[in-house]
Every structure is written in C-alpha cells, then in structure tokens.
C-alpha cells in the first residue's frame, strides 16, 4: 500500500475500520463501473452474432443467434485484410512521428527560453480550438495541390504533427525537476543529450499515454479517411466498415463484427502497455 494519499477520506478516527472495509467498497465500485462500461461492448459482441435485421429490435434481445458466419463472411466478403493492413501501417507511422517530433518540440517549449516561444506555443494550442470541419475544405484543396490527397501520406501529414502531442509532452516535462537538467548541464551534457538521456526515460508514462492515445485516434479516425481516401485499396478499418451501410441496405451485424475485431488489437496494446502507465518516476529511482 504505497499511494495511500489517493484514498478519499473524511474522518480520521475510523481509519482502522476503513482499512478493512476499503477493499470491499473499492471492488464493489469497480465491478459496478465496469459493468456499465462494458455493456455496449457486450451488446456489440452479441450483435455480431446476429443476422442483419435482428440487430435492432424492440425490446432488445440480450441473447445471440450464434450466427458465427459473420466472422467468416467479413474476411471473405470484404477488404478486411487490406483495411487492417492500412490502419496498422498508419497507426504505427503516425504514432511514431507524433511521439518523436512531439516530445522533441515539447522540450524546446518547456525547457529552453527563446524569443517568440510563447506566441508560437499559443498558435499551436490555438489550432486545437478550430473545429476541423471548418477548415477541412481549404486543407483538402491544399493537400490536393501537394498531390497528397488519395494517398496514405495525406493521413500521415494530417495527424503526425498535431498540437496535442506537443502540449501533452510539454506539460509532463514541466513536472520533471529543473535541478536534474541543471546537474546534467554541469556534467557537460548538451540539450539534445538531456532530452535523450534524462527527459525521455523520465517521461515514459506520458510517452506511453501519448502512444496509446495517438494509436487509438488513428485507429478509430473516421472523418479524415472519409475525406482523403477514395481508393478502396487505401481504406482503413473505420471507413471500410461503413461500406456495410449501403444507401438502402445496412448490414449492421457485419459492422458490429468488424467493430469487435477492430477493438481487439487496441485492447491487447493496452493490456501489454499497461505497466508503462503505472511505472513512473517513483520506480525509476530518481531521488533528486
């Protein structure tokens, strides 16, 4: 029990009793919360085992039809293999670029003082504040002139240099004690060396979060591919799944099958990457 400071406490006298009650209450809260949180996913799995016209009914049916053929059909009747491959390529490339350039730029914004820094940073954060659908068309025209539209590069260009990553990393760098960098400077390390040897290792939880969030965003992005990717060979999962909604005919069961399949890789990444979110400064041995 290390992070005792995280428990909500109001009355100090009942500490002993609370200690014994705590796991029960905590677990109960977690179980209720996770039921609420997993219900839609459960419904998604159920729907993926139904026929198209049985997905939406009144009242809702919480029993599946065991229509397993959807899981076969989606591989044979669609470009699922292509979609997964494209999505995977994009997720990896964009996440890599975003994390690398984002954390690099964040160092420049948080640890070095130079004229124009704050204005530039405000410009970054400012663009987060503009709704994308408002500048989508000017951007599309620009990308078309650069011969980027209808290529996977358009998606890379669109997402790899976002302000989100810079902002996130900057905030985390600010929690790293300044004395650490000072000590390193005195030891003769260059600024690039400090970033590489001190900041990067220390910000692992933040990098892990940024990696996951970027990965998920790319994986689930819908509007971006919708606007930029016309060629079916370039489609990502989200845009591909939409082909199951025709104008007159919606194959909801297949959409749900695809959604279930598309969630799995992220869940695996999350489970595997978890230890990085919960291993921070406290265990990397920094004592100041």
């Amino acid at each position: 029990m290390t992070l005792t400071g995280t428990r909500p406490v109001t009355d100090r006298k009942t500490t002993a009793r609370r200690r014994s009650l705590w796991p029960v209450v905590g677990h109960a809260a977690l179980i209720v919360a996770s039921l609420a949180v997993l219900a839609p996913f459960f419904w998604m799995v159920l729907s993926s085992l139904k026929t198209n016209n049985h997905v939406f009914t009144v009242p809702i049916r919480w029993t599946p039809d065991w229509h397993w053929s959807n899981y076969v059909d989606i591989w044979t009747r669609s470009g699922m293999v292509t979609w997964v491959r494209n999505t995977l390529i994009l997720s990896v490339v964009i996440t890599f670029l975003q994390v690398l350039t984002g954390s690099f730029a964040a160092y420049g914004f948080s640890r070095l003082r130079w004229p124009g820094r704050d204005v530039l940073f405000l410009a970054y954060v400012g663009t987060i504040a503009v709704p994308w659908q408002a500048y989508m068309i000017p951007q599309f025209i620009l990308f078309s002139k650069l011969h980027l539209s209808n290529t996977l590069w358009a998606m890379v260009a669109l997402q790899a240099f976002g302000a989100f990553g810079v902002f996130l990393m900057k905030q985390f760098y600010e929690t790293v004690p300044e004395e650490l960098s000072e000590a390193a400077r005195i030891d003769g390390l260059s600024e690039y060396g400090i970033w590489r040897r001190i900041m990067l290792p220390l910000s692992m939880p933040a990098i892990a979060s940024l990696t996951l969030l970027t990965f998920v965003n790319v994986w689930n992005d819908y509007l971006g591919p919708l606007i930029y990717l016309r060629d079916p060979d370039l489609w990502t999962i989200q845009i591909g799944l939409k082909t199951f909604i025709g104008q007159y005919n919606a194959q909801y069961a297949l959409i749900m099958t695809g959604s279930v399949l598309s969630v799995l890789p992220i869940a695996i990444v999350f489970l595997l990457g978890q230890k990085y979110f919960v291993q921070g400064i406290a265990t990397t041995g920094i004592k100041g």
Binding site: T6, G108, L168, Q171, S209, Q238
Partner: protein
C-alpha cells in the same frame, strides 16, 4: 556574451521545435489562416470568395439558431467539463491503488473510448428508450412517476448527451491522470506521512500540487473538446428534438456542407475559436498564478 548566448539558446530552442513545427505550419496553420480570411467572404466552395467585410458577423448577431447553438454548447461544456474532470480523477486514484483485478479494470475503463461510436449510440439510445428502455424501467421500479423522455425529449436530450459524453471520455482522461500520478515522487508521500498528514491532507498537499501540470492539460483539452463536441451529438440526437441539442460544431457543418455557405460557416468557426481561446487564456493565467 549575453547576446550571443541568447542567440545560441534561441537556435537550440528552434531546432527542437522545428521538425514538428514545419509540418504543423504548412499542413494545419495555413488552412486555418485561410479559414480566417474566408470568414469575411461569401465563399460557397465552387465560386470566387468575395470580400463582404463584417457582413457575416452582423448576420450572426441576428441569427437565432446561432444563439441557440451557442447556448447549447455552453450548457454542454459547463456540465460536461467539471463532471468529467472530477470523475476521471477519482477513477484514476481508484485505479492507481493495488486492488486485485485493477489491471483488468484499467482496460475496461478505457473501453468506451475505443468502442465504435455507432455501437455507443445504439446502446445508449436503447437504454434511454422512453417506454422500453432499461433506465426508465428501473426508475419505474423504484417508484418514479413520469420518468424523463431522455433523448426523445426537449428538456432531457442535453443531459442524456452529457451522460454519454462523460461516460465515454472518462477512460481517456483517467489515463492522463494515471500518467500524471506516476510523476509524483513517492518519497513526498512518505515524508508527508512521517509529518503526520492524513490521507485527505496528503491528497490536498501532495497529490493535487503534483498533478497541477496534468490537471491544467486535461482542463484545457477537455474544455476545448467539449466546446467543439460534434460526433457524439451527431450519432445520438443529431441536434434534436427540435434544436435542443444543436451545438456550434454541428451548426458549422450544417451551414457549410449542407447549405453550402462556407463563408458564413467560417465566421461561426471564428466565433467558436474566439470562445475557446478566451477560455484557454483564462486557464493559462489562473495556472500561471497558482504555480507562481
């Protein structure tokens, strides 16, 4: 000497920022600047953009749908932000303990964020179904007479959207808080305990200050995200019933892509941008004063 050192620092600083900034400036900043220009024109995508000066802004002032959308956006943001902030922090604290099964729960809490939005809309709408939905059946069972119509009622549609919004975003912000909690050195807690601080005091005097950069980031991102809310509303209520959940982002989309008035839509975006920036600046100033 000082001058050359400053120049050197500036160069090093720029060298860090440049790789990201070049891509950002060309690919995002340029179109955004174009948007600002277009907000003073009557551009319809296909033709020339004619300069109309402040005509769009004047039209905005008298446009009742715009004011409705603005009101709804502020309503959504005003409730969604504090609730999400508090709950996601609480969840992060809960999931930062060593309860058994916590690894599984961390993943579970993140599921709403990765589940397809079509599924989210379908399930929540069904839960909220006025007559057959589980929510109202539960309320009926505990004796609530005349339960709300949720997404199918003018008064309850916005609360419904907020509930789903909080539910979906919890995992996302929980993750950021979880990462923030890791950066608080453990010896600070140990020292506080030795000094006789109770759990609440440790929370107030160690956890909260240690989380300040994270909290600031979460608040800014969450506020801007809420002011720009779009996809959730689109799939849940599509702005209805009536205009009860019409928000600014959706109004921008309607004006631009449905009604082909991109100049006017740009003007609405500039207003939304202005609101976001004003709120963000306030948050920056508050943050600076607190951390000073």
């Amino acid at each position: 000497m000082a001058a050359s050192l400053r120049r050197r620092n500036a160069l090093i600083g720029l060298s860090f920022v440049l790789p990201n900034f070049l891509g950002f400036a060309l690919l995002t900043l340029v179109p955004v600047l174009a948007l600002f220009y277009l907000s003073f024109t009557n551009w319809n995508v296909f033709g020339q953009a004619d300069w109309t000066g402040l005509a769009n802004l004047r039209r905005l002032a008298g446009d009742r749908s715009f004011w409705t959308a603005l009101r709804n956006t502020l309503y959504f943001t005003g409730v969604h932000v504090p609730v999400t902030l508090v709950l996601s922090l609480a969840l992060a604290l809960l999931l930062n303990t060593r309860l058994r099964g916590v690894r599984f729960f961390r993943t579970a809490a993140f599921f709403p964020y990765i589940t397809s939005i079509v599924a989210i809309a379908a399930v929540w709408n069904m839960m909220f179904s006025p007559e057959t939905g589980p929510v109202n059946q539960l309320l009926g069972a505990v004796g609530v007479a005349g339960p709300p119509g949720w997404t199918n009622s003018r008064d309850w549609s916005m609360p419904s959207v907020i509930i789903v919004g909080v539910w979906r975003d919890l995992g996302f912000y929980m993750l950021l808080f979880l990462a923030g909690l890791q950066t608080i050195p453990r010896d600070l807690y140990e020292a506080a305990t030795i000094d006789g601080a109770g759990a609440w005091q440790r929370f107030r005097h160690v956890t909260l200050p240690g989380l300040r950069p994270t909290t600031f980031f979460v608040t800014v991102v969450l506020t801007i995200g809420s002011l720009k809310v779009f996809d959730l509303i689109l799939v849940l209520t599509n702005g209805g019933p009536g205009q009860s959940t019409l928000v600014l982002s959706q109004y921008i989309y309607q004006k631009g892509f449905v009604q082909n008035q991109f100049g006017y839509a740009s003007a609405v975006s500039v207003v939304l941008f202005g609101i976001c920036i004003a709120v963000t600046l306030v948050q920056f100033l508050v943050n600076r004063r607190r951390s000073a």
